[in-house]
């Protein structure tokens, strides 16, 4: 199968959906000729024109609000938010307006909107361009949240998001834009709420989101060399969450580490760990561990930044302790 980058995969998904449906359009800062700072959208304005690849002034709440109204009246906007950190600027339009319109109207109005943004540290971009804020959005009922872990997921989840009649937020890891993965030439969609078992194992389950799936896979390689069999699962969407697949794996291996790049406190790792504790407690041989980003603003210095996010070695070390029974007393 051919391999393409995550950036190309997103671009293909958007182009295919824009060809399929004339009501799909892209809106955001420098999305047209510039194709975004990451060049993810290059070429789209040439094919679809400035009416459907719409450059806006620098006003995130304004174009987000405009997109909500456009979605409510018959179009399918794909909003490009240049950095995930800017989500704080659009919180009212996303969480008070887009997320609640369907409910507050008793189901009569819908907001079929996709918010494309990014996440991920270690790009030396400091505290306002490095955050992974998906947990904030996942907390709000009415929003769906997708976290692609490779080019394959990025394309399939984007196409599903555009066809969904609800507001969907997709967080792409900006360090993965140039990462290649096998992506079929033929059309496919990835349904929401269906986790992907990336690797089967029997001793411990590593649940990872976005780029942390790769971290978990590398950790599994390290562990395999030591004779420890790790199962790696990618939930692919955190809302809806494929709880059944996660629970089945927890019951099978009896040990779980949840790895996610959001801050560890009050985050995705805590939510998933809690569900496993509540629903698979009697199958567990060890406490479910959380591994998120350190609870500090992301620092600039490489010497500091690199220690704020989970690494394969760090995940493997914790897994080793869990399998050896060393973490039980720490619980």
């Amino acid at each position: 199968m051919r391999e393409i980058t995550l950036s190309q995969a997103v671009n293909e998904a958007l182009a295919e959906e824009m060809r399929r449906d004339d009501t799909v359009f892209i809106i955001g800062e420098d999305v047209a000729e510039a194709g975004t700072p990451f060049k993810v959208l290059s070429g789209l304005v040439e094919e679809f024109g400035a009416q459907r690849v719409v450059d806006t002034p620098i006003c995130e709440p304004g174009f987000m609000g405009l997109a909500v109204g456009a979605a409510m009246t018959g179009t399918r906007p794909v909003v490009d938010l240049m950095f995930g950190d800017f989500i704080f600027l659009i919180m009212d339009q996303l969480c008070n307006q887009a997320a609640k319109t369907h409910y507050m109207s008793g189901g009569k109005l819908s907001v079929p909107l996709v918010l494309r943004t990014n996440m991920g540290a270690t790009r030396r971009s400091a505290a306002q361009h490095s955050q992974s804020l998906h947990a904030l959005v996942a907390h709000i009922p009415g929003l769906k949240v997708a976290m692609p872990s490779s080019a394959y997921e990025a394309k399939g989840l984007m196409k599903t998001a555009i066809r969904d009649n609800n507001p969907v937020v997709i967080f792409e890891d900006k360090l993965m834009y140039q990462d290649k993965a096998p992506v079929p030439e033929e059309e496919y969609l990835i349904p929401f709420g269906v986790a992907n078992i990336k690797r089967e194992g029997t001793d411990i389950t590593l649940i990872g989101t976005s780029s942390m799936v790769q971290v978990c896979e590398k950790a599994a390689d390290i562990l395999a060399a030591e004779g420890i069999s790790a199962e790696v699962i990618d939930p692919r969407t955190i809302v809806p969450l494929d709880e059944a697949t996660l629970l089945a794996s927890a019951r099978k291996t009896s040990r779980v580490i949840v790895v996610d790049e959001g801050h560890q406190s009050y985050g995705v790792t805590g939510e998933i760990a809690s569900r496993i504790n509540e629903k698979a407690f009697y199958h567990l041989d060890a406490p479910v561990l959380r591994m998120g980003a350190m609870d500090v603003p992301i620092p600039f210095s490489p010497a500091l930044e690199d220690i704020t996010v989970p690494t394969p070695e760090g995940v493997a070390a914790k897994a080793r302790m869990l399998v050896a029974g060393e973490m039980i007393d720490a619980a």
């Binding site: 304004g62 609000g65 179009t75 008793g106 189901g107």
Partner: protein
């Protein structure tokens, strides 16, 4: 100028709609005072000529966005008393199945995109509705209702900038009732409100919001021009709020005098003024007007009685309409 309402049937309909709003509000106030209504509400009484003058210049397909003080817009855009009182009381037959209440009341089928309880929260939505109209080659117009208090929100300037750049068919209708909640407008608004729109190159008008014919004539002209791509436009409608900020705001002499309220109610009331005009011009007799008022009062009473006896939504509806396409979000 395009054709404003000129024949007697149109005039009587405008009068009827203004009286319907006043009657609705009088009943809503009584429901609150007699503790039959959950929560609280914000009365539109005194501002009827604004909603009616504007909405009578619109077609059903045209969109409006409304505010926390939204009963008047809802009635003026064509809603029925029965579903409105049901919504106010949280009943199943309400326009939003009881999920919105007073602050989110809207008859969506008549182009009302919802009442918004975030001050200024709908400015993006209205602008987005106008964006859809232009993108899909429709000729509908969107009217964004908001108060003088909302002119302090930054979102207004972000969306007016885009609307002006892209010539969107949106009319920003600022209902200046003199008070931003409990504070005089002159204490929260520097300079001229209309000049702010003019800074974006937007044609801005100030009109007597107590004169339904003036409001209707101006809006009719602007709507016709917006349909031809000459938008956006801005209107500041000088009006007055008879009640407090909300129904519980009873003792308000610390921010405005009773003499001031009395003056507006006795000398500038939009319904009294228009009634006198109808009689002077021979368009209706006193008897005919009294009969119309009585009929509206009887309609309102019947609707209130109906709503008081109507069913609450079944508790199983609590997790319905969270997501489009998912019947029960928590199932």
């Amino acid at each position: 100028m395009a054709n404003a309402k000129t024949n007697s049937e149109d005039y009587l309909r405008m009068y009827r709609q203004m009286v319907r709003i006043r009657t609705f509000e009088d009943n809503a106030n009584q429901l609150y005072l007699s503790a039959k209504m959950p929560g609280l509400t914000h009365m539109y009484s005194g501002e009827e000529a604004v909603a009616v003058g504007i909405c009578e210049a619109l077609e059903t397909r045209d969109k409006i966005t409304s505010t926390h003080r939204g009963h008047g817009h809802c009635v003026a855009k064509g809603a029925e008393f029965k579903q409105m009182f049901c919504e106010l009381l949280g009943k199943e037959e309400g326009y939003c199945r009881g999920k919105g209440g007073s602050m989110h009341i809207a008859d969506q089928s008549n182009g009302n995109l919802g009442a918004n309880a975030i001050v200024g929260g709908s400015m993006g939505i209205a602008t987005g509705a106008a964006f859809t109209s232009k993108m899909l080659g429709r000729d509908d117009v969107a009217v964004c209702f908001f108060g003088d208090g909302a002119t302090a929100q930054g979102l207004l300037y972000e969306v007016m900038n885009m609307a002006a750049l892209w010539h969107l068919p949106v009319i920003y209708a600022c209902e200046n009732n003199g008070y931003s909640e409990y504070t005089k407008t002159e204490e929260i608004a520097a300079g001229s409100i209309t000049d702010r729109a003019r800074a974006f190159g937007i044609e801005a008008h100030q009109v007597d919001g107590q004169d339904v014919l003036a409001v209707n004539a101006l809006t009719t002209d602007l709507v016709a021009r917006a349909r031809k791509g000459e938008g956006p436009f801005f209107i500041e409608l000088m009006t007055y709020r008879y009640h407090g900020h909300h129904v519980g705001d009873i003792n308000r002499e610390y921010y405005r005098t009773k003499a001031e309220e009395k003056d507006w109610k006795e000398n500038r009331d939009p319904i009294i003024r228009f009634r006198a005009h109808l009689i002077t011009e021979g368009l209706a007799t006193e008897d005919e007007i009294e009969a119309m008022n009585a009929e509206i009062a009887a309609d309102a009473k019947a609707a209130v009685d109906y709503a008081l006896d109507a069913k609450y939504p079944d508790q199983s509806e609590v997790d319905m309409h969270v997501y489009s396409g998912i019947t029960h979000a928590l199932a």
